[in-house]
């Protein structure tokens, strides 16, 4: 027993352990370069065998210190450094076992109270209200395994729903394929050519709010869809547009699957119940040329430059005011995120057709025909051409040329998911849902949720970070970025936050790089930020009970080194 004890605390054992740990770490970093941080953490730094190695080093240090018991004065430095290292190792193990680590992404003005953990989960929410189910996923630790085949079972209305994840891609490439389909969905494939640049090919889809057009240098590239054939003539001859028409308001209620159309002229200033729905509409005011002034909304002129309509809806959820713009149908989507009443309001004006933007490279689709449309840089002049696929068109004002390679009135978009490499980056899983004979499959990127219809009910399946509630909430009041002069290199960033406890206590703090804030054991650090689509801060949050132990270890080691040098024998070199 004594011999084992002596051997465990011997110098040869120490050398062997140090070299073993060093070698393991070297392989760990190589593994990390090849397979990413989660894999290296899982197989090396947080692995049980590595923890065993660390515990073994602890024992070695402890016995080597105890061997010299009873300690003499000249042992002080030696004992302190070695016990300090033991504390550092214990602190590290405490961290591995008990720490909570995650991040908070907070858009400006919003509040968050759940921590996104580094682990992923699959999350299933049956018809609302229903109990959500979640299962942890650890595919990122083995990114080279793509055929994962994991099945989970949830209870959906008393019947088991089987959820199978059969594929996992650590880094996914989505290839888009556009083919001819049956239902109307206009699409064009354009090739854009500019001197000194490689030709660029791009698909446009008129009904996709993110893909109907884009900015290409100075130019607007658009696919415009007109619902009525006669609108084309109005677009080509804007001077013939009717001047005084006030258009129609179309209200779509997705949950009720109801659409109601109201002519504005006839109902302005009146309150009408919408038949077949629980809502009452009251059309408040019409602004031909809407503008916000110091005294509130007003009309700048009588010509329909920016037609807008204000109205209210009253229903079981309460009463809400709306503002709809004929020229900016996206306004409501952007600003009405937190509506109680779920309605999609479209204000259509016969006389206020989408006017063509300046510097346009456009394709116009009517129910029957296709046209190429171009406008000058200032927007004053416009030209329409019949569309001939494959023919190169020189833009008369912009000095660029383009070709329409393909037109599809009934396009169908298909997405093919491919694995790019094994670096954990853009993760995706393929999920199969099965219940009885019913089967549905879906690809999900990390952070994505799918809304599936299941026997007339909605089931939400999401692939996202696992979360953990915080004992307080954090609101981002303001985020600032400071840059170096003459560059876009950030010299620092900071977030003003408001922390609110369950008890109602409020704290205002500013977090910046190197200036974290600790609240109830959780330390929040400025880690990163995003600017698009909204400004948001990313805070790293950590609660590690091991940190004080490690810090104590640091101070003891450093004091030990100082003591060691103080008690160093004057001559003869080594400490005996």
């Amino acid at each position: 027993m004594k011999r084992i004890f002596l051997f465990l605390g011997s110098l040869p054992m120490a050398v062997a352990t140090l070299i073993a740990i060093g070698t393991a770490l070297a392989f760990g970093t190589i593994h990390e370069t090849r397979f990413g941080t989660p894999a290296a953490q899982h197989y090396f730094y947080r692995a049980v065998w590595f923890q065993t190695l660390l515990i073994f080093l602890c024992l070695n240090l402890l016995t080597s210190a105890l061997r010299r018991f009873p300690w003499k004065k000249h042992h002080a430095g030696f004992v302190m450094t070695h016990l300090g290292i033991i504390l550092i190792l214990i602190g590290n193990l405490l961290g591995i076992w008990f720490s909570v680590e995650g991040s908070l992404l907070i858009p400006e003005g919003e509040t968050r109270d759940d921590l996104a953990l580094p682990q992923d989960q699959i999350w299933v929410q049956p018809e609302n209200p229903g109990t959500p189910f979640s299962f942890p996923l650890d595919f990122s630790t083995t990114p080279w395994v793509h055929e994962v085949n994991r099945t989970f079972t949830v209870d959906l209305d008393g019947e088991p729903l089987h959820l199978t994840v059969d594929r996992y891609f650590p880094n996914t490439l989505i290839e888009e394929e556009v083919v001819a389909g049956e239902t109307p969905y206009p699409a064009v494939l354009l090739e854009l050519n500019s001197v000194g640049q490689a030709p660029q090919q791009v698909w446009l889809f008129s009904r996709d709010p993110e893909r109907f057009g884009f900015r290409w240098g100075e130019a607007h590239v658009l696919l415009i869809e007109l619902t009525r054939e006669e609108d084309l003539a109005l677009l080509e001859h804007p001077e013939e547009r009717p001047k005084e028409e006030r258009g129609i308001l179309r209200l779509e209620f997705p949950e009720l699957q109801a659409v109601r159309t109201i002519p504005v002229e006839a109902f302005l200033g009146k309150t009408v119940p919408l038949e077949g729905t629980p809502y009452t509409l009251s059309l408040k005011e019409y602004f031909p040329d809407f503008v916000i002034t110091d005294t509130g909304p007003a009309s700048r002129s009588d010509s329909p430059q920016n037609p807008a309509l204000s109205f209210t809806l009253e229903g079981p959820e309460g009463k809400e005011a709306f503002l709809a713009f004929a020229l900016h149908p996206e306004f409501e989507e952007r600003h009405g995120l937190s509506r109680k009443i779920h309605v999609h309001a479209v204000y259509e004006m016969g006389g206020a057709l989408p006017s063509l933007p300046p510097a346009l490279i456009g394709v116009v689709r009517t129910p029957e025909a296709w046209r190429v449309a171009m406008t000058s840089e200032a927007g004053g002049e416009q030209r329409f051409l019949p569309l001939a696929p494959g023919e190169t068109i020189e833009h008369p004002w912009l000095g660029v040329s383009f070709r329409v390679l393909e037109v599809l009135p009934n396009a169908r978009r298909m997405e093919h998911y491919r694995v790019k490499d094994n670096e954990v980056k853009q993760q995706a899983i393929h999920v199969i849902l099965e219940q009885g004979d019913r089967r549905e499959e879906k690809w999900l990127l990390q952070g994505e949720a799918a809304h599936l219809e299941w026997d007339g009910k909605m089931v939400v399946v999401a692939y996202q970070s696992a979360t953990q509630p915080l004992p307080f909430s954090v609101k981002l009041l303001d985020f600032r970025k400071i840059e170096y002069p003459g560059t876009s290199v950030p010299s620092g960033f900071e977030s003003d936050i408001e922390v609110r406890d369950a008890g109602g206590r409020r704290l205002l703090r500013t977090i910046s790089m190197n200036r974290p804030f600790t609240h109830r054991g959780y330390t929040m650090f400025q880690s990163s930020y995003i600017e698009e689509p909204v400004e948001a801060t990313i805070l790293a949050v950590r609660n590690d009970p091991g940190t004080p132990v490690v810090y104590a270890g640091f101070s003891i080691v450093i004091s030990g080194v100082i003591v060691m040098f103080y008690f160093r024998p004057r001559k003869g070199g080594k400490v005996k």
Binding site: T29, Y484, G486, M513, N514, R515, F554, V561
Partner: protein
């Protein structure tokens, strides 16, 4: 030892030869040069004198510290005044051979002209690379080189079109300066005055009226300074920087160290040799310049001298000399000083000639000046300095062993043990301070980041060496061999991780560079050295055994 010196001298000769330029740059008058050198320019996030700007620009474009016969200031001013003469001059460096081949140039054509570059399709590759970069994907070496070439292209384009940020836009020194081509926001009167004085200087230079160039530049500077005096650095600061660039104290330092090492090589082990006394004076002079250079850089940048790889090497070399001299004095050794100046000189020489950026730069957000950063990085690099010294001593030890000089071995062995101890303590302290800093900056004291992990591996290796020594497993000879091997671990931590492994510390390095031939050469030379030692040991055993 002589062999070593020959190799170094040959290296110097090769590196010294600048590239000859084809365009004849007429000399500027003294007054003009003076006015031009001190002209403040905003470039790369800092307002600096034209002198520094010109050097940085030529370094960026040509990838060599010296271009042509004329000085950098005259050359760059000539480029601004005579773009047509420079368009066909091969000045743009394309250091990566596969890129040269891809662009259709001869494989050995290291520099190409603006015209020639314009005729290639390299611009068409850019959008895809930029998209890749924005998506946060890692670029290949070729793509990185294309981006580098693009930055050269943009720079030369800016010079040819006179697009220099010479005019402050507001009283705040941090505001973005206006380029000469876009003076729109200025009042009409000032704008005309600034533009006409600059144009006068250029046209006078073009037409050979040399006297007028200086006068116009002075008038230009006067108008610009009057706009927002608070945005312009004080004159002493501009003068100090120009002096620094002219004197190049760090270059002088390594030359002096080299000379001292040469002298010491002939007086090794002789404490009373007169040559040694002279050498100590040379070292003192070199050390003063070395220290002064570091202090000037600190004053100019307003932060500790560890913002980039270049500065950290300068600091490493400084620590090596300081520790070497300290040991020479404390341990009354006549060897350590030699190892110190030799290795410090080589480090400084490399810092100047490796493709590192010597510009005094602003510092990235995560490295924003604070106490922990300064202490952590200074300590860590100091430990590299100590370990470099240890490697030097280890070589001396092994050299003495090979040469059969038994007398010096005991002393060298003891010094080696002590130097490693200092290195280990500094490294451990640096790692711990780094942990404290990481906790404040990234929210965890330890995250198994490759740089952290490799620093720990290096520490464990040297700790194992010290413990093995104590256990009596190996003698001082084993310690020397272990140190020479451990130096590679240190190189991996210091250099390799930033370039070959991913991690948070990547701002310290740069993008992936191909494995430099220098490193391969060093590894090969070291292997031969170790092989020689091994052969010697084996021979000794054969002779001893009956």
């Amino acid at each position: 030892m002589k062999r070593w010196i020959c190799v170094v001298a040959f290296g110097l000769a090769v590196l010294w030869a600048g590239r000859a330029a084809g365009v004849e740059v007429p000399p500027l008058s003294h007054q003009t040069l003076l006015a031009l050198r001190h002209l403040p320019v905003q470039y790369n996030g800092r307002v600096k004198p034209f002198e520094s700007f010109a050097r940085e620009v030529l370094d960026l474009l040509t990838d060599s510290r010296a271009y042509g016969k004329a000085d950098s200031v005259s050359t760059v001013f000539h480029m601004i005044a005579f773009p047509e003469q420079w368009e066909e001059e091969p000045i743009l460096s394309v250091p990566y051979r596969p890129l040269r081949e891809e662009l259709g140039f001869a494989p050995d054509q290291h520099h190409i002209s603006f015209q020639a570059l314009f005729g290639t399709h390299f611009m068409t590759r850019l959008p895809a690379i930029v998209a890749k970069q924005d998506a946060g994907e890692k670029l290949t070496i070729l793509e990185n080189e294309i981006m580098d070439l693009y930055s050269r292209f943009v720079m030369v384009n800016a010079l040819f079109s006179g697009d220099l940020r010479l005019v402050p836009s507001g009283p705040d020194p941090r505001s973005i300066w206006l380029p000469l081509t876009h003076l729109g926001p200025l009042p009409e009167k000032d704008r005309k005055k600034i533009q006409s004085s600059w144009q006068n200087a250029l046209s006078a230079y073009r037409e050979g009226r040399m006297e007028e160039v200086g006068n116009s530049l002075e008038a230009f500077q006067k108008t610009v300074s009057a706009l927002h005096p608070s945005a312009i650095p004080p004159p002493w600061r501009l003068r100090l920087e120009v002096r620094y660039q002219h004197l190049q104290p760090l270059r002088l330092a390594w030359i002096l160290y080299g000379v001292a090492a040469f002298m010491l090589a002939f007086s090794l082990g002789k404490k009373q040799s007169p040559l040694r006394r002279v050498a100590l004076f040379v070292i003192a002079a070199g050390f003063l310049l070395h220290t002064g250079g570091i202090i000037v850089r600190m004053i100019l940048a307003g932060r500790p001298p560890v913002s980039n790889f270049y500065e950290s090497m300068v600091w490493l070399a400084w620590i090596t000399v300081v520790l070497g001299l300290l040991f020479e004095w404390r341990q009354a050794s006549a060897h350590v000083g030699f190892a110190a100046v030799l290795f410090s000189g080589i480090t400084l020489l490399l810092s100047e000639h490796l493709p590192l950026d010597p510009a005094i730069q602003p510092i990235v957000a995560v490295l924003r000046s604070n106490m922990w950063l300064s202490i952590h990085v200074l300590t860590i690099v100091a430990s590299y300095g100590a370990l470099t010294l240890a490697t030097g001593v280890a070589h001396l030890y092994a050299g003495a062993f090979l040469a059969g000089r038994e007398g010096a071995l005991t002393e060298l062995g003891n010094v080696l043990y002590r130097v490693i101890q200092v290195g280990v303590i500094l490294l451990a302290a640096g790692i711990m301070l780094g942990a404290v800093w990481a906790n404040a900056s990234w929210g965890r004291y330890w995250g198994w980041d490759p740089k952290e992990t490799w620093a720990l591996i290096t520490l464990l290796w040297f700790l194992a060496l010290l413990h093995a020594q104590k256990a009596g497993w190996m003698g001082k000879r084993g310690l020397a061999i272990g140190t020479i091997l451990g130096f590679f671990l240190m190189l991996m931590t210091y250099y390799g991780v930033s370039f070959y492994l991913v991690g948070l510390h990547s701002y310290a390095g740069g993008h992936a560079k191909p494995l430099p031939p220098l490193l391969i050469g060093y590894a090969a030379a070291e292997s031969c050295f170790l092989l020689a030692i091994w052969t010697r040991i084996a021979l000794q055993k054969i002779i001893k055994s009956p």
